[in-house]
Symmetry: C2
Subunit: 199 residues, 2 copies
């Protein structure tokens, strides 16, 4: 019983794409990681189309249970925020077209989930990603490692955490629209925790 999570670190120049399988006992298997993107000199429409094609192929190849993507804030990185938000729009739509639920996580949530500290450096995140995935060294560039961290953070925080772009904002009860795979995984994870506690 494992959950397949695609993690996306959105960007026009470098868009990190990762896919991990996470078992109910929290063991992480890195399935694949890459960086899509185009040089800054390329026309905007060609850049966005290249990323759209890359994410379409990524989802069709890996068929994830859920997609986790970084939440973009308007207040930071004013020079790149528009391009980054444009990419998030494309990625979320690509998932929605395939019925894949989407979860948004802030950088602080991801850092805290993977390193224990919301103020972790890029280097610390890379090291922890390598350790968790049992790699000899961190995935490179940093955008690749960040995409893996996002996917791990989503699985480890559990489907109950993070803000779910697929959940109805009108649903004040906090109940979320989980897929059958997500519900089965949550049950399996709870059972694994229970076994661990009894050891």
């Amino acid at each position: 019983m494992s959950l397949r999570v695609v993690g996306v670190d959105p960007g026009l120049t470098r868009c990190g794409l990762a896919v991990v399988d996470v078992s109910a006992s929290r063991l992480v298997e890195l399935v694949d990681v890459t960086v899509a993107g185009t040089p800054p000199g390329t026309p905007l429409d060609a850049r966005l189309l290249a990323i759209a094609n890359a994410i379409d192929a990524w989802l069709d190849t890996h068929k994830p249970d859920v997609l986790a993507i970084e939440r973009v804030f308007a207040q930071v990185n004013v020079s790149t925020v528009i391009g980054t938000a444009q990419v998030t729009g494309i990625v979320i739509t690509a998932a929605a077209r395939r019925g894949i639920p989407v979860a948004l996580h802030t950088p602080t949530e991801v850092k805290a989930a993977v390193t224990g500290s919301g103020q972790a450096t890029k280097a610390a995140i890379g090291k922890m990603v390598a350790k968790i995935c049992r790699l000899d060294e961190p995935p490179k560039p940093a955008d690749a490692a960040d995409a893996v961290a996002l996917a791990i953070a989503h699985a480890w925080r559990g489907a109950a955490a993070g803000s779910n772009a697929s959940a109805s904002a009108a649903s004040s009860s906090g109940s979320r629209q989980l897929t059958t795979a997500q519900r089965a995984w949550i049950a399996a994870e709870a059972s694994a925790k229970h076994r661990a506690a009894r050891r």
Copy 2:
């Protein structure tokens, strides 16, 4: 000889979509206008998908020569800029998939092109759109009128103005990648101006 322009006023709640045919003598025919979008309570992925489906259908139905969309700035409307940028990403990608060139225009450029003043009010824009398209009253809501204004502004400013998302930023000569339809229209427009000057 006319140029078919789709104008898009991007937004998550209300996304204005217009299509106009503009003759070489600058006569504007409003072909169709609508507003796509979803209520704020809807999940984000469903909202983006609804707009993606609407723009796909709009482009397939109307087969424009060019798509003009408002340029988004990070500095203004911080609360809505992320959603608006996400929509622009989807719209530009939809055009790119179909080989339709994309042009970005600022609100000031649009106001100036349609009303003569870069500081025009929404009401003034609506009135001028009605006058230019020979309508009894402005298209409603304002997002619909804004989308028409964008399309008109693009055609009237000419393909040489505005910033072209499809043109290579690396091309410092300023030459642009025009479609055959655009080149033919520019030639026809120049010829129409010439005839007017001789009258």
